[in-house]
């Protein structure tokens, strides 16, 4: 039997979190949420998720800064960037920093499934 993945969604948009939670729970995941980069770092330490979906444009601490800290404290955790700001430069920057993948908003169910499969592969 497959392990139930614990996924951290980090996005300041309530709508995005609600929709992505439904999507991930439908795929059998346990979901926790953070509204900004600072909360994401804390929840990464406290809740020890198996993977993270991380937005870039967020208040207080943005996604790029959060990714940097998360990679320092937990270098193995798979992080999927999920952002509207998917320019080639941002994509290269975040992949270089160790993000597993980059999904440009608006996402499709297929992209989420694929990302989840990549997280599972990394975890197992």
């Amino acid at each position: 039997m497959e392990k139930k993945l614990k996924i951290l969604i980090t996005d300041d948009s309530q709508l995005l979190r609600k929709k992505l939670r439904a999507e991930l729970e439908g795929l059998g995941c346990e979901v926790i949420e953070a509204e900004n980069g600072k909360e994401a770092v804390m929840k990464d330490l406290q809740e020890k998720p198996d993977g993270i979906f991380l937005d870039i444009v967020m208040p207080e601490v943005g996604g790029i800064e959060a990714l940097q800290v998360i990679r320092e404290v937990n270098p193995e955790i798979p992080v999927i960037m999920l952002s509207s700001a998917g320019t080639p430069q941002k994509l290269m920057e975040t992949l270089k920093m160790g993000a597993l993948d980059f999904i440009q908003k608006p996402y499709t169910s297929e992209q989420i499934k694929k990302a989840l499969a990549a997280i599972r592969k990394k975890v197992e």
Binding site: D12, S13, Q14, L15, L16, K18, K19, V57, M58, P59, S83, S84, A85, G86, T87, P88, Q89, Q104, K105, P106
Partner: protein, 286 residues
């Protein structure tokens, strides 16, 4: 060839009046084009041939008569039956039903529309920008408006027309405005301003949630929509080696946008009108 911009084309060309656009869009959203208009649009029949089928032809009866007269074969009839009318067809049907155009007129309009090389949205926005002295911003603003309209149609499931009329929004009216700044190779602020009823309907359509009032979720929906469109625009202009970052969206109630290099466009949809704002600096003050 343009698809989905027939109403915009007609407005740009002065074939429909700016004050009638909203009403026509509302009707077109509830209308399903019939076979004769579809046959005309697809070039299967001319206006003259359609008129020869019967005086007031519609539905299966029209197809049967056209078949009997040897004007349509079985394959063409099936093609028309399986066609899902798009917004261009539905808008044309409304114009015909309203007796605003004859079949002959519609035939010539379709033909001119198909030959129209320019994007009708870009054209109207560029002209509006130049008319208010924003020559240097005209190309950027018209590119953004085109992407915005395309995304709005996609996510809000409505026909959309950029109206040529002046926008007069009362500061005291109950409204919401959201904005987001793009910073970097280009500095530009984009935003949406709408009276609360239209703002709420946009939030409902974008989220597919049953939102009852303009609350935090409704505001979040419109901020997220704007964020997504601006993100797509950032990706588009990155192909010109222009890199931008997106700032946090902002929101303000009951106010009018005032900024430098600003253009406010009236956007008509099937559920009401709102303003699309583009400016050189921030117009939502927190």
């Amino acid at each position: 060839m343009n698809n989905g911009y027939f109403a915009q084309y007609l407005l740009n060309e002065g074939q429909i009046e700016q004050e009638n656009v909203l009403g026509l869009l509302k009707k077109s959203a509830e209308c399903k084009a019939d076979f004769p208009i579809a046959a005309l649009r697809k070039g299967l029949l001319s206006a003259e041939q359609i008129a020869s089928v019967s005086e007031n032809p519609s539905g299966e009866e029209f197809l049967r008569n056209a078949g009997k007269n040897g004007l349509l074969n079985a394959v063409q009839m099936d093609e028309l039956r399986s066609l899902v009318p798009d917004e261009d067809l539905n808008f044309a049907q409304v114009l015909y039903d309203e007796k605003a155009v004859t079949l002959e007129k519609l035939e010539s309009l379709f033909s001119a529309y198909d030959k129209y090389g320019e994007s009708p949205v870009r054209e109207i926005v560029r002209n509006r920008a130049v008319a208010v002295g924003l020559d240097a911003e005209a190309d950027r603003y018209s590119s953004f408006a085109e992407l915005f309209v395309h995304s709005f149609k996609r996510f809000m499931d409505t026909p959309v027309v950029v109206n040529s009329k002046e926008v007069l929004v009362e500061a005291a009216s109950l409204s919401h405005m959201v904005s987001q700044k793009l910073i970097g190779g280009v500095t530009m602020v984009t935003g949406i301003q709408a009276e609360n009823g239209v703002f709420l309907e946009m939030a409902r359509r974008y989220s597919h949630e049953d939102i009852k009032e303009v609350d935090a979720l409704a505001v979040d929906c419109l901020c997220e929509f704007l964020n997504v469109v601006n993100g797509l625009f950032a990706v588009d202009i990155s192909s010109e080696n222009v890199e931008v970052d997106l700032d946090m969206p902002r929101v303000q109630e009951n106010s009018v946008p005032e900024a430098n290099f600003q253009i406010v466009l009236a956007i008509d949809t099937s559920f009401g009108e709102f303003s699309l704002v583009m400016a050189g600096d921030e117009f939502v003050l927190r």
